[in-house]
């Protein structure tokens, strides 16, 4: 690539942050975001000019976010009670990132990669393992669950989200931002959703 890297940060910074937050929650996403762009900056001159830059970045971001989860797990303190679903009392008031934290591992990651990162399902399957059909199902189940807890639908939209092919960046704000403070999710609850246990 011979385009200025700064343009990449401007163009894809928000998408990468969404993916990192979806996997890690807002508090831990910053480090993964910076690690993503630092690694991308290092590799940028050698990237094939025909490469899909957003897909490339989203894949790196997912890997960096998973690294942060693993690092956190190594230092995790086991807790007595782990909520397996984070429920919002009245739908829309729950922060999206907290709602994502309540999803099962595969759904959370499929939603992060496809619905927030714009990665097509065959590439989601390449990252998560399994088939594209399974990834599609996980993404659809995840969004259905988010609809129940978070109300993640754009007003008036009836199209099933899995029919959307978000190859381009996700539009900024289809739903007004929740006015309440972000729901705090215990660190252990986030770790639990990775299906890899909580303790050390």
């Amino acid at each position: 690539m011979d385009q200025p890297f700064e343009r990449v940060v401007q163009q894809h910074g928000a998408t990468v942050l969404r993916v990192c937050r979806a996997v890690l929650g807002p508090a831990d996403a910053d480090d993964a975001w910076q690690e993503t762009f630092l690694a991308a900056l290092r590799a940028w001159p050698d990237l094939d000019p025909r490469a899909n830059v957003q897909a490339w970045l989203v894949t790196i971001a997912h890997r960096k976010a998973v690294d942060v989860v693993r690092r956190a797990q190594r230092h995790a303190v086991p807790v007595a009670e782990v909520p397996d679903v984070v429920a919002a009392p009245d739908g829309r008031d729950l922060d999206l990132w907290a709602a994502l934290a309540g999803l099962p591992h595969k759904q959370r990651h499929a939603v992060a990669l496809h619905h927030l990162g714009g990665l097509p399902y065959d590439e989601v399957a390449g990252v998560l393992g399994g088939t594209a059909a399974a990834a599609r199902r996980a993404g659809a189940d995840g969004v259905a669950a988010l609809r129940r807890t978070y109300g993640a639908t754009s007003p008036g939209s009836t199209a099933a989200p899995e029919l959307a092919a978000p190859r381009t960046a996700v539009p900024r704000a289809a739903v007004p931002r929740a006015a309440v403070p972000r729901a705090e999710v215990p660190r252990a609850a986030r770790a639990a959703t990775t299906n890899e246990g909580v303790g050390a």
Partner: protein
């Protein structure tokens, strides 16, 4: 269309960007740092390599195109890293305010080679408030007949204002061409005449 709403604050992105720049600089990954800086001639694009100031560009030169050119010719590891250009920005402010006559920043002339580079290197010899003709510059650069080539070299000066190609004028005294436009050249010559006369 996705149905997921995920608003991101611009302020969060700005904070993350600043952290990225710091980490990239610590890892020697910023090959070209740049910022824009406002002044009486409009916003100037300032760009530096680790070796020094590599580019100053006027708005009329199209900052996006200039950055794309730097990216292709030097390295695509280009980041908006304003702090690296703070010193030159400060000296430009002083110059435009009439409080500075020479610039004291390292300059990286890697974008020029051969005769053109030699001409540009001779620009600093023309003192503040003075002018030289294209013919005189050709002589100074060791090729008295290359008057036209001097014009080209001045037009390609990668760091105008800091290296004073605005002080090279036609033999009849008229200002001649300038990368920032004829008005910008006149404004700079006028500034230096006023400040020089007041001193």
């Amino acid at each position: 269309m996705s149905t997921l709403a995920a608003p991101i604050d611009e302020s969060d992105l700005a904070r993350l960007h600043a952290g990225l720049v710091a980490r990239a600089a610590a890892a020697d990954l910023v090959d070209v740092a740049y910022r824009t800086h406002d002044g009486p001639l409009g916003p100037l694009l300032l760009a530096a390599t680790p070796a020094g100031l590599v580019r100053v560009a006027f708005t009329v030169q199209d900052h996006d195109r200039v950055l794309a050119d730097l990216s292709a010719r030097i390295s695509p590891r280009v980041l908006a890293a304003p702090a690296r250009l703070d010193e030159v920005a400060r000296q430009l402010d002083e110059y435009f305010a009439g409080r500075r006559r020479t610039f004291d920043v390292p300059v990286d002339l890697r974008l020029l080679g051969g005769f053109r580079r030699s001409v540009v290197e001779h620009l600093s010899a023309i003192g503040y408030g003075r002018t030289a003709s294209y013919a005189e510059m050709a002589q100074a650069a060791g090729s008295p007949r290359a008057v036209r080539a001097v014009g080209t070299a001045c037009a390609l000066n990668p760091v105008p204002v800091v290296l004073p190609c605005h002080r090279v004028v036609r033999s009849d005294g008229s200002p001649g061409q300038y990368a920032g436009g004829a008005d910008a050249k006149l404004a700079l010559l006028d500034l230096e005449t006023r400040v020089g006369a007041a001193a």
